[in-house]
Point group: C2
Chain length 225, copies 2
DNA sequence: CCTACCGATCGGTAGG
DNA sequence: CCTACCGATCGGTAGG
């Protein structure tokens, strides 16, 4: 039988593992916003170790060195903390995309740059990425979250729209191509994050190089203008 | 705040929800293999409702109508049941792919058919698909599981290899194109399963039609022979 | 931000 | 396949 329960840390459930004792020294006091930030950071680390479902408020508190009820001063409940992570994630992804797009005007180059930014962000911030696309974010209507998400998605539509305007894709096919482009980088991100691509011997080179190659294949499917 | 804890069923943690009482009448007795199959089926349903991490052995037992220790007669532990689901999944995907490939000889058609089968299988069997790519399966060395997984992956390599032989892709680029093709359908599967594609207005039409369009975009990036 | 507590699970073992 | 149990969590509330 596969000894997954001990060889990976994806899950954490009552009564299966002894809980690690406090590793971080307890701070004497937290200033305004200090504990909030510390909890956010702890949450990101825990999601990376245990997955979004394995994350618990109590362990985040433990990690930061406060009582398990202290987080309720800053977050209404467990999901609120995860939503904050997701929001931070969309803002970070948006910023990373803008940085990669800076100075590029040619639609195909921009589409590729957006894709590379997407994959790079996911691999560099797997916890954020997973929470962004997890169940917590799905039903969320938090304004800041929704705004950050829409802005990022807007970049994709804008760039594919520019491809259409340039005659690189058939008129009216923006949704189809947007979905194709998104699916490709989204899947690549997942296959790289999970290690599946590597296990199958398909992930040689840097993340950027891999993303560049894979997105190039998508680009090459466009018309010549 | 986002009321995710009540609006979606992705998670299940101690003390958050009242547990539903037995809905299935308790069987008087199970024949050999009968309970095993019933537990497998229950596990699939539970993963669909709660995700792989939310699945518990106790709830599966409850759903089937036996004591929470009865499953240990058929599965060594919780992970063993999930591995069985993953194995069933890879066998199902492999069979679905073979069915779609039957009669097709042209490499591009075969690549597209494989991709469509992948996406259709994922959408039709989301629980299996999630478990197949989840943490439980990663570290698993169960022979039947490994074999079913390798057979499915082998189809991809074989078909992309045929594309190479036909001059549709540059010599030596099988890994790169295999990764591209896989990433695209893997990402599409995820975006369709999670509802993200639909929420963004990018998922009009049947799953087959969407998968056909998206894979067509990949195919169009190949050389003309 | 803390102490004390509650109700509800869970995975797993002992022993039949 | 069942009864009885154990140890370990968890999210959350009361009340300060």
């Amino acid at each position: 039988m596969c000894l997954v329960s001990t060889s990976n840390g994806t899950r954490r459930r009552p009564g299966r593992f002894p809980r690690a004792r406090r590793t971080t020294p307890r701070r004497t006091r937290y200033h305004h916003g200090d504990l909030r930030d510390a909890l956010l950071k702890a949450a990101v680390e825990l999601v990376e170790e245990l997955g979004p479902d394995g994350f618990t408020l109590r362990e985040a508190a433990r990690k930061v060195g406060v009582t398990h009820t202290a987080p309720y001063r800053h977050f209404a409940d467990r999901d609120a903390l995860l939503v904050a992570v997701a929001e931070e994630g969309f803002q970070g992804l948006h910023a990373a995309a803008l940085a990669r797009l800076a100075g590029l005007t040619e639609p195909r180059q921009r589409l590729q740059a957006l894709g590379i930014a997407y994959v790079e962000y996911a691999v560099a911030h797997p916890s954020h990425f997973r929470v962004m696309h997890g169940g917590v974010a799905d039903a969320c209507s938090d304004p800041a979250f929704v705004q950050a998400k829409a802005a990022t998605f807007g970049l994709l539509i804008e760039i594919v729209g520019a491809c259409e305007a340039a005659g690189l894709i058939p008129a009216g096919s923006v949704p189809r191509y947007a979905l194709s482009a998104w699916a490709t980088v989204h899947g690549l991100a997942d296959l790289l994050m999970s290690g599946a691509a590597h296990r199958m011997g398909l992930a040689d080179g840097s993340v950027e190089a891999i993303a560049r190659e894979v997105t190039a294949n998508v680009i090459s499917g466009l018309r010549t203008p």
